[in-house]
Symmetry: C2
Subunit: 309 residues, 2 copies
């Protein structure tokens, strides 16, 4: 039940001070989800020893270059390295046009299926739902259409205590029912309560990614109570005017969002090139919301163990 | 009269082993020319302390991603960092389409003029000529239209020995004539020979860049006698069949090209991801042409001082 986030890039707009543009990998039960894909993402995957071929789903929040310019290079490298299994991309419709024209002019025929799933930035929608996770859009407020993404682990069944199967002679067909919470009646007619047969499963956790947005309360419902919130904090609060002009958030405001949405833990990232040192952004954010870390490149956050130590 | 080449990337197709896709910077008398622009080029410029704002002309050999995918990110960063002076791009016509669609969907209005100059891959053409340099295309033979670029320093006038101006009372209007080789007649009617008034200028040097190509003799004329030739050497010669299938050159063949074209010095690059160690490629090439180096990232080659030590 792995549910971990690795930061590949934390810079806004331009790479600087060894910070790369935005990209993250979410590990969910052995599967990898790539969230945004700034220029140099494939180099970052190599740097941190993450096998790009394990990525099945790629989510692009919006079409500012710092969030997607690494995509075509990554898709091309997957192809050159022998990929055959599909890649699913979730992003604005125009992204397909951008990818297609580049594959066309390089005369590249991908040897794997590339499946686009278009996002829209008006109302939240479910993009993907499988046994592991449900992914929904978060409607953000940026200069161009932009969505965040919320990843919710699916609720797991109860864990049946293995030794009980033998001692009580539980038939195989009864096991799924017990895992759903049913009691068990053995061959002597004795009732064994569900609570005595099972242990509680790991709690289903959730992660919300708010890439680029003006601070507002419109998306609080979408991220309410998540275990881990990544929120952009491009500027310090003394740059509020600039943040508002460019539809970005300050570190103080990111803390307010976390507080108002009652999330358990906050990561701030998407740092402006004007900040060589990031500690002041963290300190400012913590004046409002203490459970916060910086989204430093190469760091992995275990969402299954919030609050983080 | 600086004429230096700095390697920013030397990998073919996919980045690997800390090698980035192809990009180079040519320094010509204080001006910077960018030659190809693979993904991560702007990060490489930062890494090697090269001010991207000094780049005026960008040359793209062809539209395989490893040669241009860093372009839109670079253009965007130049804009965000306040550029106002023009950028001139030389490349296939389809490159404009690729750049335009991405500027459009990110709703980016560049604050500097972006001037495209289209290359064609049928016959060599002069792309640029100014006081410093002449740039011509080299017609290569790749899977898609592809040109190399030849940079020739302009012949410099003779250097007038400064002390002569005062001692012989040379009028200002005579100076350009003397620099072109004219003798000087002083106010007493005495003739001073050009050879006594001047020293020889630095020799005009040349650099040829052959990005991706099948080995052939068709472009030997275009690169004949250059001081420095960069030639791709994607594979070792035991991979000749693969090289031919993919329209690439082996290290041995790169040496043959250098020999046949009678160049003074050779750099090999564009190394396949299958080679962690590059010394065997260099050794193979040197069996044919000894004056060869590897195009290692971050290394600068002084074309004014060939043969290199």
């Amino acid at each position: 039940m792995k549910f971990e986030l690795t930061i590949l890039g934390s810079s806004s707009a331009t790479p600087i001070f060894n910070r790369n543009p935005t990209a993250q990998v979410l590990h969910v039960n052995g599967k990898l989800f790539l969230i945004d894909c700034g220029e140099g993402t494939q180099q970052q995957l190599l740097r941190y020893g993450i096998n790009a071929q394990r990525i099945e789903h790629i989510f692009i929040s919006h079409l500012h270059g710092d969030h997607y310019l690494g995509l075509v290079g990554l898709l091309s490298s997957l192809n050159l390295n022998g990929r055959t299994k599909p890649v699913h991309i979730y992003g604005p419709p125009e992204l397909k046009e951008i990818v297609d024209i580049q594959l066309k002019h390089s005369q590249t025929q991908l040897r794997y299926p590339l499946q686009f799933n278009f996002t829209q930035a008006e109302t939240p929608a479910i993009l993907l739902e499988n046994n592991d996770v449900r992914v929904e859009t978060i409607i953000l407020n940026h200069r161009i259409p932009c969505t965040g993404f919320k990843f919710s682990q699916q609720k797991r069944p109860l864990n049946l205590i293995k030794s009980k199967i033998e001692t009580l002679e539980i038939p195989v067909e009864q096991i799924p029912l017990i895992k759903q919470g049913a009691d068990f009646v053995d061959k002597f007619g004795r009732v064994h309560l569900s609570a005595d047969l099972t242990t509680k499963p790991q709690e289903a956790k959730s992660y919300a990614y708010c890439s680029d947005t003006l601070y507002s309360q419109t998306y609080l419902d979408s991220i309410s109570g998540v275990d881990l919130l990544y929120h952009e904090a491009t500027f310090m609060h003394n740059m509020l005017k600039r943040a508002e002009e460019t539809y970005h958030t300050t570190a103080l405001q990111a803390g307010k969002v976390a507080l108002e949405a009652q999330v358990k833990y906050l990561l701030i990232g998407h740092f402006s090139a004007r900040y060589r040192e990031l500690e002041p952004l963290l300190a400012e954010c913590k004046t409002v919301f203490n459970n916060t870390s910086l989204a430093i490149e190469g760091r992995t956050f275990d969402i299954g163990n919030i609050p983080l130590k």
